[in-house]
Amino acid sequence: MNKTYHRVEQIAGNVIVVQADGVSYRELAEVASTRGSSLAQVIRLEGDRVYLQVFAGSRGVATDAQVRFLGDTMRVAFSDALLGRVFTGSGQPRDKGPAITENLIPIGGPSVNPAKRIIPRNMVRTGIPMIDVFNSLVESQKLPIFSVAGEPYNDLLARIALQAEVDVIILGGMGLKHDDYLFFRDILEKNGALSRSVLFIHTAADPTVECQLVPDIALAVAEKFALQGKRVLVLLTDMTNFADALKEIAITMEQIPSNRGYPGDLYSQLAARYEKAVDFEGAGSITVLAVTTMPGDDVTHPVPDNTGYITEGQFYLRNGRIEPFGSLSRLKQLVNSSTRDDHRTVMTTMIQLYAAFKETLEKRAMGFRMSAWDNKLLTYGERFEEELMALSVNIPLEQALDRGWRIMADCFEPEETGIPSKLIKQFWPAEQAADKTADDKTDKTAAK
């Protein structure tokens, strides 16, 4: 019933043009030439000219290739059999398991009606104080990790995935190094989490077009699990590769670029994916954690910039630590009021003091004499970095808060912190402060 076309009019980039009729927008086609066959998707209709984006790339496509339209849009199989499996960006098995073809669901479906969403209210505990105390992660949040090449962002992602209490983990890898893919698979397997995970992996060696499909496939599957009442955590790494794949296609299609070659709809494209994060009323939830590497460590680069406007905060991973400045969880206010009375105050005060510490560091670097206050800040800043910021620290929230009070009490007089008097009365560890002031004095004399 489906007609086959033999005449390819144009091949440019990964896009081919054929003359055909009765083709619908976004329909899939199979492009077969002597060098093999690939799926392709309609991305533009212009009279009887049909533009197709070839998933496996246009290399090896002959002008007399057979193009057969399939009458359907891109779909992916969905069943519990997906769990524990690894697939490519177009949904083919990457492990040695059988292909799954039952119960096909469309990808890139419509967005959730805002009236059916509920306010996120469950904190996801990670055991990382920089997240739990200062920027709590919330179920159904979408949050990127801004980082640069060389930082341990994949390790951080894996650690959060293993410690977070979720039912299903879906990993979407885009342009992943093969080593990194194996790292994820092994760490999930070693910790017994592979059986509740589904991996969609596009490695750097695979065709670019498949990279574009990864988030859609991963999120379509996540959505189905969530509708079954599961709490799903979706990990996407690295979204910058996804954006670059979009750029490549846009340029091939001769679209007018807006910013550094990226298409004008980059924001909408990214948003369509990130906005899949949701807490369904009466069903499960999707939490999205994504890695965005910043080319040249530049946060104003279009990819991190647009991402930042879409997501509900971001974590900056720099020098192996989550930076307190710039990192933000927009939803933390929804959960940190019900953890412990002092949570918000500790959070704000410690960061303000840490900011003052940074200023003092600058002053010291310029060779100025340190005042008594500066010295206090210096002790504080170092302890803060060592005892709370280091990624190796793995303690529950309550313990982290106590540790915060201890550090502040050891370094400052209560009124120097600007903490409301009521909380000081309740939480300030009194005796400890006295001991430590003595220590401080000896420190200072030693320094002199």
Binding site: R26, I119, S268
Partner: protein, 577 residues
Amino acid sequence: MSTNLGRIAGVNGNLITVEFENPVIQNEVAYALVDDLRLKAEVIRVRGNKAELQVFEDTTDLKIGDQVEFTGELLAVELGPGLLAQVYDGLQNPLPALAEQSGFFLQRGKYLQPLSRDAEWEFTPKAKSGDKLFAGDTLGIVPEGMFEHHVMVPFRLRGELQVEEVVSAGKYKVDQRVAVLKDAGGRSHEVTMVQQWPVKIPINCYAERLRPTEPLTTKIRIIDTFYPVARGGTYCIPGPFGAGKTVLQQLTSRHADVDIVIVAACGERAGEVVETLREFPELTDPRTGRSLMERTMIICNTSSMPVAAREASVYTAVTVAEYYRQMGLNVLLLADSTSRWAQALREMSGRLEEIPGEEAFPAYLESVIAAFYERGGVVKLRDGRTGSVTIGGTVSPAGGNFEEPVTQGTLKVVGAFHGLSRARSDARRYPAIDPLESWSKYVGVVDAGDVAYAHRLLRQGNEVSQMMKVVGEEGTSLDDFLVYLKAEYLDAAYLQQDAYHEVEGATTADRQKHVFGIFVRILKAGMKFEDKDAARRFFSRLTQTTKDWNRAEMKSDEFKQLEERISQMLAEVTENE
């Protein structure tokens, strides 16, 4: 009338090219027919016998040759009682009703009537037969929540109209006839409670436009005292991501001293709309004691919803705002974010292959922005009452750099600028409005001379702080250091405000006047200290006491005690002089 049909000749994203035979109108609404769905679209360019249409939905499955039905009507909103407390998408589809019909997801091609046809409204006639009226004049009123909703002469009718009949008081549905009017040409028009108005045309059935002079209190100290907004004025909040634009908008929507708040969530996160959606019905409006939702309407076209509808959403919102202004009410329209709207324009412009302007935004961007903000304003109605539309738009500049086309185009046309800075938000100094860069042309709630003094002090404090970075604290004189400490104190205890504290979160105009008076006294006082450390210790104690004071209920004993303590502290350091 036979339907005007065309055929699809091209599909490129959400832009379709349609061949037509009968005349079409620029910006008219059309429907693309696919399977059994009707996808709403708008004509945005005509070339020869081909019209280009932006489709407000996902265009998947459209084929060459598919039919398109032109309606001959411009994109319009439905105006009538029942708009308040509603949640609409950019095309005025009621989202809760859609959710009831199609569940979790927004199915394309589903359009519902914005106003309920079953609800009955208690109509009281105000005009009588024989009256001579003009468009926008009141025919009768119905109660809508806490407001008197005016049923008006339809805005589209021109010239003087004679009332032939007005129905008697009683319960009516929105599409039942409530009056019959006769125009100068002798034709009669039947009037119901509901009317349509094209969104891109301003409603101007008022007598005259006035200058905005009255302050609009937001209960945010830095805004009301330093960079005030006027009723009927316009302001913008540009800022990098994470600087707190949306939180600021949410606080304003909660506390602003206006009758009606319209929130246009345009291309932003759905989660934020949900917060408003779920929390407002639970919150009470301190002015009226009723639910905040009763005075709120939400237009929400979040970032993952179709882009073309995003462009329409701000117009839908401002048209509704103008409609309520016409009833003599004060309306605040909060648009978050106008950059997303501008980006929607850019996406369409790109698909139309127009010659791009700066950063690929279309060349007409500035005039479109200006035309939008100009729809705000205070107006005097024909019966002497006044109404206002205040527009506050956030801007999300790429890279947080204000030198980009949307921010610059907006700054030219607004009356106040609340620039958010990354440095302040990183230091957790909220609200992160930059006190040195922002400005306002409106009159605030406290004495302008005092504000100028405080502002000068902030500037000097900043200069000293910059200087200290070079010459160090030891190279700074005690006097300069005091200026710096005073500026820091003003910043910490007045400009910064804990939005989540139940008392401090909303500071009334009266309280601001009172508190700011004391601040000015402290700032102007000559103080004497032994050394810088003593001065710093004093100010950290003073800051803490003042922060406690901010958190105390204004009528409470605690408030009075703390105020006294502050005066004492001040006296102690000024005595030595």
